[in-house]
Symmetry: C2
Subunit: 198 residues, 2 copies
């Protein structure tokens, strides 16, 4: 018997729902004998360029609702969050490139690196918009890698692959080819994993 395939976890660092999901995805996977592959994505490409939508928080009606929903989730699950959903959005390229580099070259560190960046950005409200700003959080080696062409190329490949697979939102969890979009899907993913799907 071969081991079951990892769960593919797609997320953008600017997404509070991606942050929330990052705190649950490993436990979810482990309960079903799975591991996690960490995939940075860019909502600025999928949502704004390809789908032609405004950012969530700038959409009438949906913006205020989303702010309320994010804060409600954080309270329920006691998630540390110094940054507010309505705060100015960070340029996520440095984080996403660091993530793409780690996922490719040091996959055993991917989870730790994702958690460090999410905790620093959403949990502590730090600015991580430049490779230099990553050094105190991830160390000098990774901060330098995030500034390099290899990381940029790896991220472009991730972004292209996600779009080709129809993935547009953060978080998206892909289970054996089946995509589930949104933190609110975790209960259904759990049932899918437990039953083998339907």
């Amino acid at each position: 018997m071969t081991a079951p395939a990892p769960l593919d976890f797609h997320f953008d660092f600017i997404s509070p729902y991606g942050y929330f999901a990052s705190l649950r995805i490993e436990d979810l996977a482990a309960r079903h004998g799975r591991t996690v592959r960490w995939h940075p994505m860019l909502l600025g490409v999928s949502v704004m360029k390809v789908m032609g939508l405004k950012p969530l928080l700038d959409t009438p009606l949906k913006g205020p609702y989303t702010e309320r929903d994010v804060l409600r989730y954080a309270r329920e699950h006691r998630v540390p969050m110094q940054r507010q959903p309505a705060d100015p959005v960070m340029q996520p390229l440095a984080c996403a490139r660091a993530m793409a580099w780690v996922a490719a070259h040091q996959p055993q560190r991917a989870a730790e690196v994702a958690h460090r960046m999410y905790a620093a950005y959403w949990g502590q409200g730090l600015d991580l918009s430049t490779p230099q700003s990553l050094a105190p959080v991830l160390g000098a080696e990774l901060a330098e890698a995030a500034a390099g062409e290899d990381a940029a190329r790896l991220l472009r490949a991730e972004v292209d692959a996600a779009l080709a697979a129809g993935i547009f939102g953060s978080p998206t969890v892909v289970v054996d080819g089946e995509p589930f979009w949104g933190i609110d899907k975790f209960e259904q993913i759990e049932r899918w994993l437990a039953t083998g799907g339907w």
Copy 2:
């Protein structure tokens, strides 16, 4: 002690997620000693006019995902569905007006009437786009009421009130003033009702 307030259930008949939610909302409410108030809404007003978005199924990437997600939900919960998510969208005014009229004048029949229209449209794939087409489903009296000015006025009031309350999506459940959008929120609504909120 006064009785706890009803749950306000907002839905559009063209919304498959509204259909799915309509099949669970009464049980959810009853488990927590609540009743349900049924509120027709028009996604064509909230999503397209106010929010400036394309219909869900016409949005790149999100369209194909939504189709898959709807069919997956219907399979999991064994919901009858002769109409496909990608089928042409019905003009929902007749249904929404009938619903607004019943909710105002015969509220004890509101649940039954909502179920009849959803079952006919999504379950059996019938066309309900005109008041006449409602007669076999709801009877002549209601079909006639749906064609009248009173029903049109009542629906406009519902649509205005929903927008004023920031409600944009179908289904939306409002619990003591707290809005929850989406069928995927039902587990969280259950926890909110069980705990009194957080």
